[in-house]
């Protein structure tokens, strides 16, 4: 086993106490928020007796003391049982697993959009610093950061769905078009089953939410890439390469960019974590059946097990993304270690 491999394993092991801490905190915080989940569950009906509420409370262990509830919960968790949703009358694991592919798909496409737009924009702005390209690029990216998602999303719907009629207003795929479910990612499943109709349809549904969600990320990526490129272009090794007569394009892409990308990778890593959490606003606007909407709804309805499980998924995502980012550094700059 190489040193790097050992370090990766160490990092994974170190994640376990982090996860445990996150779970316990989520457990305690949820119970500190005022509101009674059973009362919320019963809605506004007449004829609800106190016995009926008590029996439901007992069914979900809510009648026990906090430490006992925590121990019972952790005990089940170690056996892989994430509990039963108070609101949705289903095992929590099922609900989360159902929502994750939709969120991952949207996150990937938002990221793709952000990178395709952000990195070239950043490079161009740095290469032609203070030129008109730079000014337009940076003004656009400033706009991207400033525009709130709900505004951009609604404007997108008004222009592209209502005005031009090119894209659907919301949803994930047209009824009857869905490819056979393999991974749960519509585009990927369509590719695997070579179903071009489904692929086109899924992409039409993805376009607006992915752009809405990716706009802010693209702007951040462009700005970070620009500033680190500016720095890299002034380093000695770039000057040396230029002096040696290496073509301009090669210097920019091969010598400068590779090193300049390290801050970008850090930023992108953080953004991926956020994107994978599911953007509640974008998911709500576009009726996208992802994790963000579920979590917000679960918090409002005090669905303790569901919130705890979702927080756990978030924590795990960040741990994994951080590790992946660090590994990617060593690839970009082999002098770096984990």
């Amino acid at each position: 086993m190489t040193r790097t491999q050992v370090q990766i394993i160490e990092r994974i092991l170190a994640a376990i106490p982090i996860m445990l801490g996150v779970v316990i905190l989520a457990f305690l915080f949820m119970r500190m928020i005022p509101g009674d989940p059973v009362d919320i569950m019963m809605g506004e009906a007449g004829g609800v007796t106190h016995e009926e509420m008590a029996s439901l409370r007992a069914q979900f262990d809510l009648d026990k003391s906090l430490p006992v509830q925590l121990v019972l919960y952790l005990g089940r968790l170690f056996k892989g049982d994430m509990g039963y949703s108070l609101q949705r009358a289903r095992p929590v694991k099922e609900i989360i697993l159902e929502a994750v592919p939709a969120t991952v798909e949207l996150a990937l496409f938002s990221l793709l959009f952000a990178l395709i737009l952000g990195i070239p924009l950043g490079i161009a702005s740095a290469r032609y610093q203070n030129s008109i390209v730079d000014r337009i690029g940076m003004a656009t990216s400033f706009l991207g950061i400033s525009m709130p998602g709900f505004w951009l999303g609604i404007i997108g719907i008004i222009v592209f769905s209502l005005g031009l009629g090119w894209l659907p207003t919301s949803g994930r795929i047209t009824y009857g078009m869905a490819p056979k479910s393999i991974t749960g990612l519509m585009t990927l499943d369509a590719l695997i089953t070579a179903n071009t109709g489904a692929l086109k349809d899924a992409l039409r549904y993805l376009a607006l939410p992915a752009v809405t969600m990716g706009a802010g990320v693209a702007a951040v990526v462009a700005r970070v890439t620009r500033s680190s490129m500016l720095e890299a272009l002034k380093t000695d090794y770039v000057l040396f390469a230029k002096a040696k007569g290496v073509p301009d394009r090669t210097v920019t892409i091969k010598h400068a960019l590779r090193n300049a990308l390290i801050p970008t990778v850090t930023v992108v890593g953080l953004q991926v974590g956020t994107l994978l959490g599911g953007n509640m606003i974008v998911e709500t606007i576009f009726g996208w059946p992802g994790l963000g909407r579920i979590v917000v709804d679960a918090i409002f309805s005090r669905d303790y097990p569901l919130v705890q499980a979702a927080v756990m998924v978030y924590a795990l995502t960040f741990v994994v993304i951080n590790l992946a980012t660090d590994i990617f550094y060593t690839y970009l700059n082999p002098k770096m270690t984990l």
Binding site: I33, P34, G35, D36, D39, I40, M41, M42, G43, E44, A45, G46, G47, V48, T49, E52, M53, S55, L56, Q59, Y84, Q87, R88, A89, R90, E98, A99, A102, I154, I157, I158, S161, L162, G165, P168, T169, S170, G171, R172, Y175, T284, I285, F286, G287, P289, R293, I294, D297, F300, R302
Partner: protein, 527 residues
């Protein structure tokens, strides 16, 4: 709480204009400084964000009579905890009724210690009446009791009585025979479409909770499920109970109901529906832990139901512990499930792929995305009292979750969906100009009010509570915020519910009377 009240910019602006007008008006007529004849009454008005504009206007009206009023916004469930602890003073709240009877409205809201009685109101005479009325069988006696209850509540003024909002819905012009129902359910069996054969309904919810008719308590879930499942009885759009799977029923004694079932009803899997399925359906709900170890949250909705018994293959008898005259209204909310199928696939298998006897079969879908239903070709036809009778006109029905109001409207305009519910007033105005859209409104079944904490000062004094009722001009609020799509209520009763007294007039807007009452109670007022 605050269901579906999306506030547009235009409504905020109207509210601001009204506020300014009130301020100028009171400034003009007041002119003089506060006349101190006692201590100043100082109040915090609690509200959720949905009703913030309304709360601000109410506070302004209160200030006009000399009350120091300030609005505070909350998340509903956090506020509810404080209300139940009796810590707050005045709060905007609302409550929906499903039974077309004060049973699930006035009793939980105003009976001493009941679970929706956040005002802490308590009146022994009213408690006695409400307790008695649940067991009264004679409609005239029930009505008389409810009339008396209305007088008591009106006089005691535990709330600033408010209003009921109309349900405003919109549909594409291709949709035919569509009528919004007062209980806000959408029964697609009756609805036709002139272009294509698929009807898409946009729901404002984030999700429905389940496809198992024993495991929910909310209306949106029921809206979808009632297209897949039928009940013994159902309800017309305006609240009348009519037979569905039951052909007829008799009431041999005050505590017994006997239902005769149709003999031509089939489940989607081909199994015939008979008395065993009906008995199984109700036992599954009544028995603890009967659904894969879980207990149905619906048992309480059945009132004093004690047992269900099969008499013969097509006759079922329900026995109650005590008379419960609204039992048929309650049964509307219980959908019959197939015993054989559930025993074969298990409860979770059933929830994943439900089989009912309703006009549509479940095809596919996700609870927080879209639910796709397909016409059931062997449907028995539905209630003979709600035409058309026969299989549904539409071949496919889709319920799509679109939680954002603007997007629902955009989807309707784009023709992606055909029916949307709970249209915000500002968007209704825009949509009414679109010739491809039809808009209908129907009286709602949700009571909006401002609750007063009767447990402690200042609202333990009836004069102060009545003064609050005289101080607020609801007509202005309803017109400016809700575009007039609302009904002013005199009390806690709904016009659509049983036992409503139409002759009881609401408290008039009379700021002078409010000032007099406040002065009598020892508070300073502003003239």
């Amino acid at each position: 709480m605050g269901k579906g009240k999306d506030h547009g910019l235009s409504r905020c602006l109207t509210a601001l204009v009204v506020l300014a007008a009130i301020l100028v008006f009171t400034g003009l007529i007041a002119g003089s400084p506060i006349q101190a004849s006692g201590k100043t009454l100082s109040i915090i008005v609690d509200a959720v964000a949905d009703r913030a504009d309304e709360a601000e206007i109410i506070a302004t009206y209160l200030r006009a009579v000399g009350v120091e009023a300030e609005v505070r916004l909350w998340e509903w469930n956090a506020l509810k905890d404080r209300l139940e602890a009796g810590e707050r003073q005045m709060y905007l709240s609302d409550w929906g009724s499903a039974y077309f009877d004060p049973f699930d409205l006035v009793i939980p809201r105003l009976a001493t210690g009941d679970r929706g009685n956040y005002s802490g109101y308590s009146n022994a005479e009213l408690d006695h009446l409400l307790d008695k009325v649940q067991r009264l069988v004679d409609p005239n006696e029930r009505k008389e009791a409810y009339f008396k209850a209305q007088d008591i509540i009106f006089h005691d003024a535990p709330w600033i009585f408010g209003y009921a909002l109309n349900e405003v819905e919109a549909a594409r012009v291709e949709i035919t025979n569509w009528q919004p129902s007062m209980d806000s359910r959408i029964n697609l069996h009756d609805v036709g479409i002139t272009q294509g054969d698929t009807i898409v309904v946009a729901m404002k919810e984030d999700k429905i909770v389940t496809l198992d008719p024993a495991m929910y308590r909310d209306r949106p879930t029921e809206t979808v499920l009632r297209n897949i499942f039928d009940g013994l009885v159902t309800r017309t759009w305006d609240g009348k109970v009519v037979p569905e799977i039951a052909e007829s029923w008799t009431v041999p004694s005050d505590n017994t109901y006997v239902f005769n079932l149709r003999k031509d009803v089939k489940f989607h899997n081909g199994d015939p529906l008979d008395a065993d399925d009906v008995v199984f359906t109700f036992k599954r709900i009544m028995e603890e832990g009967a659904i894969a170890g879980q207990t149905s949250p619906r048992a309480g909705l059945l009132g004093p139901l004690e047992s269900v018994r099969k008499i013969d293959q097509y006759t079922v008898e329900f026995t109650l512990a005590n008379p419960f005259p609204i039992f048929p209204q309650a049964l509307v909310h219980f959908q019959i499930v197939p015993e054989g199928y559930i025993k074969e696939v298990g409860d979770s298998g059933f929830a994943a792929k439900p089989v009912g006897a309703g006009p549509f079969k479940f095809k596919e879908g996700r609870l927080d995305d879209q639910i796709v239903l397909e016409r059931f070709e062997e449907y028995y036809g539905g209630s003979p009292e709600i035409p058309p009778i026969g299989i549904a006109p539409a071949k496919t029905a889709i319920f799509r979750m679109i939680p954002e109001a603007t997007v629902r409207v955009a989807a309707l305009k784009a023709g992606e969906v055909h029916i949307i519910q709970q249209l915000p007033p500002d968007l209704a105005v825009t949509l009414s100009k679109d010739k491809n859209i039809q808009i209908k409104s129907v009286e709602g079944t949700r009571v909006y009010c401002v609750e007063l904490n009767c447990r402690r000062a200042p609202f333990d004094d009836i004069r102060v509570r009545q003064a609050m009722n005289y101080a607020v001009d609801w007509d202005v609020i309803l017109e400016s915020i809700y575009g007039g799509d609302a009904i002013r209520l005199a009390c806690a009763f709904l016009p659509s519910g049983f036992g409503f007294n139409p002759d009881l007039a609401p408290y008039p807007y009379d700021p002078e009377k409010a000032r007099t009452l406040l002065e009598e109670a020892g508070y300073s007022v502003k003239r």
